[in-house]
């Protein structure tokens, strides 16, 4: 079913992403980006201003029950509404759109944060996503799950380690043109392939780096969006879907829940030919192998290995932000993808700008080996 009206993203702000923002609490990181988007649309939280806040964060990453309570003050929620989406930030966009389409709000602030550097390791957190009797005792965590997924995908697709290395170099190339990106320095094939193997076939260089940061956006109803900025970016399609929990009950060589999420979003956005529909594609590649795997599930190609060989990522303008391989914290992977699409569609992407971009797709993933997938389709007015 098509959306009853369009919801516009009027402003986005991102901190620079960094492996260790030790000098700021999350409150400071979030306030930076909230202030920026609030000023960009010229609104405060008074009557007629931003009506409600939606936050994205996670209690375990923050080591804090009710992690959103830490940012109540800086998201303007004193005596106002705030609701936390505890999943990848693209899910925050999904929920934010519903609060506007429902008629409940016209202007909503979305603000996400995550400091992966705070905990001893990310694996110790994601290990706790597994059930206490059948999977935790085996030492599973999201990295191990991703390695099983990578092995399955490489076996089916024939994507090679060299192709993964190319993707890492490509990420660095674009990240160098993205002022907020974390991993901007050049890296050689030798350096990539000599990085320690973490869990075959995932080397340290194929995994998104530890990252801290925050992102904020202002979402508005179609009518209000036009008042708040000259070139709002419209959300025209949304979809998400869950796969099964136990890894043995999924075909890890495919991303079924992403296929379903994409179908839902494309139906809404009236997109029949995803292979040619998008000028900008942003994929949450937490691991290098996920870029071709998810490209297949998004319908950008049928054969990920051939797609890589034939320059698919460049032809379809995938991850000009640098992607997650360049560094975004787990909770913000999809939200950073949406943010990049907005910047591209507003013509604000500087040295990585896709010329005459009109239609974009962003993807985000939550859970072990992308159990929950989210797809957002965005368009500008041309």
């Amino acid at each position: 079913m098509a959306l009853s009206q369009r919801v516009g993203i009027c402003a986005v702000a991102q901190t620079t992403f960094s492996p260790n923002r030790w000098e700021e609490r999350v409150q400071g990181l979030v306030w930076d980006v909230v202030k920026s988007v609030k000023d960009a649309v010229g609104l405060g939280f008074e009557e007629g201003g931003i009506e409600a806040s939606i936050t994205v964060s996670d209690d375990l990453f923050d080591a804090r029950t009710i992690s959103d309570n830490a940012v109540t003050d800086v998201v303007g929620a004193h005596f106002r509404g705030e609701e936390k989406v505890a999943a990848d930030g693209a899910q925050g966009v999904y929920y934010g759109v519903s609060t506007i389409l429902s008629g409940h709000h016209d202007v909503v602030l979305l603000a996400g944060h995550c400091k992966e550097s705070q905990a001893a390791s990310r694996n110790q957190i994601t290990h706790l996503a597994f059930d206490p009797f059948f999977t935790r005792p085996l030492g599973l965590d999201y990295l191990a799950a991703a390695a099983l997924q990578a092995q399955a995908y490489l076996a089916r697709s024939g994507v090679t380690e060299m192709q993964l290395a190319d993707l890492v170099m490509r990420s660095r190339h674009w990240a160098a043109r993205n002022p907020v990106a974390q991993e901007q320095s050049r890296i050689t094939v030798e350096e990539i392939l000599s990085a320690p193997m973490l869990a075959d076939p995932i080397r340290a260089s194929f995994m998104y780096p530890v990252s801290d940061g925050a992102i904020a956006m202002v979402l508005a109803s179609e009518e209000r969006a036009r008042d708040l900025c000259d070139n709002p970016v419209w959300i025209t399609g949304l979809g998400n879907s869950h796969d099964a929990f136990y890894l043995g009950e999924r075909d890890l060589s495919r991303a079924k829940s992403l296929e379903e999420a994409a179908q839902r979003a494309y139906r809404m956005a009236d997109i029949d030919t995803p292979g040619t529909a998008f000028d900008v594609v942003e994929i949450a590649d937490q691991y290098a192998h996920q870029l071709p795997l998810y490209a297949e599930a998004l319908g950008l190609c049928n054969d990920g290995a051939a797609w890589l060989r034939e320059g698919g990522p460049d032809a379809q303008q995938v991850n000009h932000s640098g992607g997650m391989l360049a560094g975004n914290p787990l909770m913000l992977g999809g939200l950073a993808r949406v943010a990049e699409c907005v910047l591209q569609l507003q013509g604000k992407a500087g040295g990585r700008q896709v010329p005459q971009a009109h239609c974009a797709v962003a993807q985000g993933a939550t859970g072990p080996a992308g159990q929950l997938q989210t797809v957002v389709v965005l368009e500008n007015d041309l």
Partner: protein, 155 residues
Amino acid sequence: MTTDAFTIAGKMALPYQYFAGATSSRCIVALRDEKKILASRCERSDRTVFPPRQVCDLTFEDLSDNWVEVSDRGTITGFTIIRYAEPYQPMAPPYVLALIRLDGSDATLTHIVHSEDIETVAIGQRVNAVFAETPVNNILAIRHFCCVPTDSDSP
């Protein structure tokens, strides 16, 4: 950069007690005491699943009394070699973590595979369960799966 900021080492630590529930307990006790692998069978989705479950996650059929004993032998359908270290891991890396489809069913579980040479582990490798010698109240009641020669033991 000069800043008044600094960092403080701390921890998040609390006691927890998890309950397996009646269905999973039955399975764990069977692994531990009888060295039997009990899986759940859902006729409606035509699946045999391990870990077992009280209801089928796809059809909501009640599976709490729909047990099938499955083979303790199987085939590796996917694997990774864990080479990074974390305190919660069951053994010191490197070790093989694999998806194992048990013979005669579509039940595919995740477990550790022991091999003399872990670098040679591959998809299609035949394995069998080695049960723990002392009682363990979770999936490690199967200590690990062990590689067996393919030709001597076809499914």
